[in-house]
């Protein structure tokens, strides 16, 4: 099977259409960033508190809002998380003025208390099973001793109930329950759970209709540090790549590859700004992946240019670049097509946590492939045709 049989496209003739497109995309992105006053940073970089909550039924956002207002919280957002059928929301708080050094989790406590007022108030003296840690469950089981393990000694009993609590909590957390148990009786399918265990749990616990699945609290310093670090480390990585390509090819190849990669990052960030998507830590990981992918793609084309330069030594450099791109076109389309398939699968099936990550790569793989042909290669051609007299790189190092 073969898609392309020795294509003969004059890439350098049509480059301006694509360079214009790139400029338009980059400009739109930059304007969007200016209008939005920078990118939308996630809590990782901004600092603040995020609480992810899963509800048994569709939650009432307005009721949650008024409860949080009553708790004195300001500058928070409530937004749906994942498919609507999951009944999950993310409550995000900006850095609270009350967040002092030693009370990092003030905001989180207020949210949790508010939710408990709304959805979780159970009978007096009982604990909420759906928000209990294995330790809490184990403590209660230990006190009730439904299996009569107490007579076997403290250590045996502790271990017995710790294991049992782990099993019960794992069952609660596994899909389809995903953290919300609806009925204690369903626990009977867990190995080791006897009717006595169920009645002990029923005695000590009640079942609320929400579960806090994730909380994240980032102080102002960590957020700022991480933002700075992500930027500097990426720039340092690009610098190292430039030096290596300089060493293996020539300086202009390094510059062109870095400019093309930079172009990819700017346009991808532009998409994030246009769609108002948050830049989170996983998006940064995706951007690093994109940098690696784009660089890889560019080097493959450059490598073929270098090889052809050695083989011909004379002639029109721009034709030589066209020919090199055509020779590698089949590979370029295949690789980017396959990688695109992989990241598209992540985007479609990967779940909510890596959604931003997958989106970044879906955009990035396309842009990264395109920039090797229409950004990196024209820069090298321009350099040799306009800025040097011979019009052909005769000094490319022999690999």
């Amino acid at each position: 099977m073969e898609f392309f049989h020795e294509p003969k496209i004059d890439w350098m003739e049509i480059k301006w259409y694509f360079i214009s497109l790139s400029l338009a995309l980059a400009l739109t992105g930059i304007i969007s960033m200016v209008v939005h006053r920078g990118l939308v940073y996630g809590i990782d970089f901004r600092g603040g508190t995020v609480v992810t909550v899963k509800f048994a039924q569709a939650p009432n956002d307005d009721a949650i809002r008024s409860e949080l207002d009553r708790a004195g919280l300001r500058n928070y957002t409530i937004q749906g998380y994942g498919p609507t059928s999951d009944h999950a929301v993310i409550i995000a708080l900006d850095l609270q003025t009350t967040t002092s050094a030693n009370a990092l989790d003030t905001g989180k406590q207020l949210v949790v208390n508010g939710l408990s007022n709304l959805y979780g108030k159970g009978p007096e003296g009982k604990s909420d099973f759906n928000n209990a840690s294995p330790q809490t469950v184990a403590d209660h089981l230990m006190a009730e001793d439904p299996l009569g393990a107490g007579v076997k000694g403290l250590d045996t009993a502790t271990k017995t109930y710790r294991d049992l609590a782990e099993a019960v909590v794992s069952y609660r957390n596994a899909p389809p329950r995903s953290g919300l148990l609806a009925d204690f009786k369903s626990l009977s399918s867990v190995p080791g759970v006897t009717p006595a265990v169920i009645s002990a749990l029923t005695k000590d616990f009640y079942l609320s209709s929400y579960a806090v699945t994730n909380t994240k609290i980032v102080g102002p310093k960590v957020g700022a540090d991480l933002r700075r670090q992500a930027l500097y480390v990426t720039l340092a990585g690009l610098g190292a790549m430039l030096i290596y390509i300089w060493f293996r090819f020539e300086l202009i190849y390094g510059v062109a590859a870095v400019v093309a990669t930079f172009h990819d990052v700017i346009i991808t960030l532009g998409f994030f700004s246009l769609l108002n998507k948050e830049i989170t830590l996983t998006v940064i990981a995706a951007l690093l992946t994109l940098v690696g992918y784009s660089m890889n793609d560019t080097i493959v084309v450059f490598d073929r240019i270098r090889e052809n330069v050695h083989a011909t030594k004379r002639g029109d450099f721009s034709k030589l670049v066209d020919h090199s791109i055509n020779q590698t076109l089949s590979r370029t389309i295949l690789t980017s097509g396959l990688t695109f398939m992989a990241v598209l699968s992540l985007f479609l099936f990967g779940g909510e946590v890596i959604h931003g990550f997958a989106f970044c790569l879906v955009v990035g793989v396309i842009i990264g492939t395109y920039s090797s042909v229409f950004i990196a290669s024209p820069i090298v051609v321009y350099f040799y045709q306009r800025l040097t007299k011979d019009g052909m790189s005769s000094r490319v190092k022999v690999a």
Partner: protein, 538 residues
């Protein structure tokens, strides 16, 4: 040719076996197999659930304490040497970051200046004595920058150790604590499976308690035995404390005096030392007040046992050989140099050397972690099956090479991460995805090149050789470029960024092996079995 292929095939087989064993170990049954896989593949907290905290150690606390103590010591020292002065006061330069610690000594008679210099040189080696411009009777004691750096680093290490010990005492399995970032004295504490971190937070921010208490009776092998020996009821001035060690495989329980003669607050330091016959022991130093009380108690109880109680557990209970005042030695207890060192460290860090400030906290509920894994696995399988299916359709027989290479690449990646106990996190998975992308790319590069060579009319064997040779240069360039940048990410990045760099580097190294070496061996094998003149399935 045959034997050359055999040799290389055996090398590949050995790698596969090492990787498979690295992942599954030597299981005897299915349950063990599952357990082994679980313990060898380290999932990050973002995937398995748990608590992740970043803490900052306020190391300046520790330097401040040293500075204050030096000031007190200096007052006494000058008095003892009959060196008159008008005033001694702290004069830290807080405009600098970190602050410069200084002590200003006023009113020194000019003829005594040399004596002061001698004292400082002799006893205060961490400090420099400098003149104060425009004031010939004053001198300034300035803490050496190098000494301050050492003190800060020591405070960080001690805090890390103290926190680690306290977290372990809570019974959190597989908790880890390590330095985070560079130069900001930050620690990252990871508590797998803990979804209610408030208990842990309380514990790590509390200062530990060291007490010296007289042993009234013991050790007993159990609480019951200790109580039975006292007729079931302890005297009002006594308490029952468990030892932190076993004796002949039994628990140890001591009946101790309820009131501590001396506590950690009276301690000024402790270090590993040796007695006259070279056996390791631990030397400790008490402040004046503590020394007085300790002297009275030990003097009156020679021959009895003294319990060193740390966090309400008896750490050791040696015999009191004589009166001890300000400088004591803890002997016996079968000290090894290592254990003496440990005890000294524990005594020093019994109390946190500096306060701890939490900077961030993330709690991933286990249900979210499980969801992430399930979705991630489904998405990865769909992606991989699509890629592998396509390679088979597009390259037919040679597609098998590519798929074997890709599968082996992932196997080596997972096994290597297990061997070096690296943790797989979400950003790490990003590195795996780039690895898969570049792995596929390597194969495509090679195959397209072979096709090109075939089109030029080369014989099959020559085309394969040329294809590998030409593509290898490209592959090396793309891989080295990416590994170089990954090395930068690893060197200067923290937590999440490092995770990406680690999986990417391992993945790319594995890919060089699989897509270049392994795939070539399969090609050579196919070629050696091929009838003369038959076409290559590519």
């Amino acid at each position: 040719m045959e034997t050359k292929i055999r040799g290389r095939a055996i090398a590949i087989l050995l790698v596969v076996v090492a990787c498979v064993l690295g992942i599954i170990g030597f299981p005897k049954n299915v349950q063990e197999l599952k357990d082994n896989v679980h313990t060898r593949i380290h999932l990050g907290l973002d995937l398995r659930g748990g608590t992740d905290e970043i803490l900052q150690v306020q190391v300046e606390d520790a330097v401040n304490i040293t500075s204050d103590e030096t000031l007190e010591r200096l007052k006494d020292g000058l008095k003892a040497k009959n060196l008159p002065y008008a005033d001694i006061q702290p004069d830290d330069d807080k405009t600098q970051n970190p602050p410069l610690h200084r002590i200003l000594i006023k009113g020194i008679p000019p003829e005594k200046a040399a004596d002061l210099q001698a004292i400082v040189t002799d006893q205060y080696s961490d400090w420099d004595l400098v003149r104060v411009p425009g004031d010939d009777t004053s001198r300034m004691l300035v803490l050496k920058v190098s000494s301050a750096v050492t003190m800060r680093n020591q405070a960080l290490m001690e805090a890390m150790d103290t926190i680690n010990r306290r977290v372990n005492a809570l019974g959190v399995a597989e908790s880890t604590i390590s330095e985070y970032g560079q130069g900001d004295f930050e620690l990252v504490l990871q508590l797998p499976g803990v979804d209610d971190p408030s208990r842990v937070e309380e514990l790590i921010q509390k200062t530990a308690m060291l007490e010296f208490k007289l042993v009234q009776d013991g050790p007993f092998s159990s609480r019951e035995a200790a109580l039975a020996a006292h007729g079931g009821v302890l005297p009002p001035d006594a308490e029952l404390v468990e030892g932190s060690f076993l004796e002949n495989g039994n628990e140890t329980w001591y009946v101790l005096s309820r009131i501590a003669a001396v506590t950690g607050r009276d301690l000024t330091g402790a270090e590993p030392s040796r007695d006259s016959s070279g056996r390791p022991n631990v030397a400790f130093h008490l402040n004046r007040d503590g020394a007085e009380r300790f002297g009275r108690m030990t003097g009156a109880n020679i021959g009895k046992y003294l319990a060193v109680v740390l966090d309400n557990r008896v750490y050791t209970a040696p015999v009191i050989h004589g009166q001890i005042t300000d400088n004591g030695v803890i002997e016996g207890g079968n000290f090894t140099p290592q254990s003496a060192n440990d005890l000294a460290l524990v005594l020093r860090s019994g109390a946190l050397p500096a306060s701890i400030k939490p900077l961030s906290e993330e709690v991933v509920g286990p249900s979210l972690g499980a969801d992430s894994i399930r979705h991630g696995v489904i998405a990865s399988i769909v992606g991989l099956v699509a890629i592998m299916g396509f390679m088979l359709v597009y390259y037919r027989g040679s597609g098998v090479n590519a798929n074997v290479a890709l599968a082996l690449n992932l196997l080596i990646l997972v096994a290597a991460m297990g061997y070096i106990t690296a943790t797989l996190t979400l950003p790490g998975i990003a590195g795996v995805i780039l690895t898969v992308g570049m792995g596929v790319d390597s194969n495509v590069l090679i195959f397209e090149r072979i096709r090109e060579e075939l089109r030029l009319g080369k014989a099959v064997g020559a085309a394969v050789a040329a294809g590998f040779e030409q593509a290898f240069r490209t592959i090396i360039d793309t891989h080295v470029t990416t590994i170089v940048s990954a090395a930068i990410l690893f060197a200067f990045g923290t937590g999440p960024i490092r995770g990406f760099a680690v999986t990417l580097t391992i993945g790319l190294l594995a890919n060089l092996f699989t897509s270049v070496f392994v795939s070539r061996v399969i090609f050579d094998y196919v070629l050696s079995r091929r009838e003369k003149g038959a076409a290559l399935s590519i």
